[in-house]
Amino acid sequence: GCGSDSASGDSTGSDGEVRKIKVAYDQASKPISWLDDNGNPTGYDVEAMKLVDELLPEYEFEFVGTTSDDLLVGVSQGKYQVGVKNAFWTEERTEKFIYPKEFLGLSSIGLVLKKENEQIKSLEDFASAGMTLAPIAANNAQYTVIDEYNQKNPNNPVKLKAGDTFSVDTIQWVNEGRVDGGVIIEGPFEKQVLAEDGPYHNLVDEVVYNEFNVIKTWPLFNKKEQEFADAYDEAIKKLKEEKKLNGLMEEFYNRDLFEVLDQVER
């Protein structure tokens, strides 16, 4: 067994002793989490966790930037106590990680399409039209979403391919016609296309974003960190009640997804 609580894991909260927590984040996943040009971690997930830190005096967070693969291995192994990477929930994953009771954020997920295909509103439409989909990184939550859809609709599946984050520039691929559509989170689409200074603002009349789902995203806790996860729950609950997270949403996603929370299935 490898674990962290022999050396660094002195029990929490007692005698005002402050426990150090390593929070791993995907450092190249703007705007959810990334390392900015000044070398500071930021993004919705990161900033939300910073707020959590403020409410937990008995814990001190240290943010460790890394890649998604390492984050998953590292949190499950105990090198990091918690990790944020816009993770979605699946039954199987609860075997490996503690999912807390309270989610961390919301993610609007949708299809990027050419203007002329605007009428495609859902995965069903997309699949029925026999369209091709840009590859999605295998370790990306979006992959799971499509995969689950396919499991549920074996008669009308989407053509799903795994690929690499960096080699696929979804919006460009769609525009080029290399694929008919791509799955994307709303945030990046906003920043790339809709924003005045976005790198693909010139395509603003060529491509559209059609949301098909809003999904809760979660921090992943190491299996031994139940106590800490409970503390997190307390804190994040308070933040939600105080509407502190809504501002972060606006800031990073240009949209407050809490407004559609009642429609969220998972």
Partner: protein, 235 residues
């Protein structure tokens, strides 16, 4: 194509990328240093008479050659602290760069052991015999006669290994250590994955220039050290 391809991204990338060469260099230089040392020890085991040591060294080389670097990196990054924790030593807080260097040291050692072994074996046994026959002690014979000649033979392959390492070094990014390759990925991420082609072109130019420089440097070294070398052909 102009619509997507914007050369200005290439120019803009250079000043951002170049400072991160520091990390690349650090990793490469340290790994080469320690890796050559390890390779030397392994080569000695292979050349020596001890059958057991021979088997170990050859087995080590096979396994390391067959392990993808990324797997090795994870094995080291998670395996080594896991071992040390049993002795009550916590390595989780030490710098990531150390694990990266350790990984490449292990790998480079395997490659270098073969380079050194073949270089050593290419030197005629007569050179050693002549050296001891003029009264040099065996260690003196190795130091003054065998090694300088083996060094020249090993140089080109050493250069190849170095170039290979330089490129593999980009793997460090997987565990979050940001070198040039990592920085390029982060620039792309901060552009929301757009204009990646331009950034990668800038990156490949940097790598290319670097390896040409290294290649030339090694050619010069080779020429410098092989002064007396034409002999071998004429005999």
């Amino acid at each position: 194509m102009q619509k997507y391809f914007d050369a200005s991204y290439i120019w803009d990338a250079f000043p951002t990328l170049i400072p991160f060469l520091k990390v690349t260099f650090l990793v490469v230089i340290l790994s080469v240093l320690f890796g050559s040392f390890l390779g030397f020890i392994l080569a000695t085991m292979k050349i020596g008479k001890n059958k057991f040591a021979k088997k170990i060294a050859h087995g080590y080389t096979t396994v390391l050659r067959c392990t993808p670097s990324i797997v090795l990196l994870f094995l080291v990054y998670y395996g080594v602290p896991a071992i040390f924790i049993n002795f009550g030593i916590d390595l989780n807080d030490i710098d990531k760069a150390i694990f990266v260097v350790l990984t490449f040291t292990l790998q480079f050692g395997a490659i270098m052991s073969e380079v050194i072994r073949t270089a050593y074996e290419s030197i005629d046994k007569g050179q050693y015999e002549a050296a001891v026959s003029v009264g040099l002690s065996p260690p003196q014979a190795y130091r003054r006669i065998i090694f300088p000649q083996a060094f020249v033979v090993a140089l080109p392959n050493f250069g190849n290994g170095l170039l290979e390492l330089l490129k593999e070094g980009s793997l460090a990014y997987t565990i979050g250590l940001i070198d040039v390759m990592g920085k390029a990925n982060m620039i792309i991420a901060s552009n929301y994955n757009s204009h990646a082609l331009e950034i990668y072109i800038a990156l490949s130019i940097i790598y290319w220039v670097l390896s040409i420089a290294i290649e030339q440097f090694f050619l010069k070294l080779e020429r410098f050290f092989s002064k007396g070398k034409q002999v071998v052909k004429s005999v």
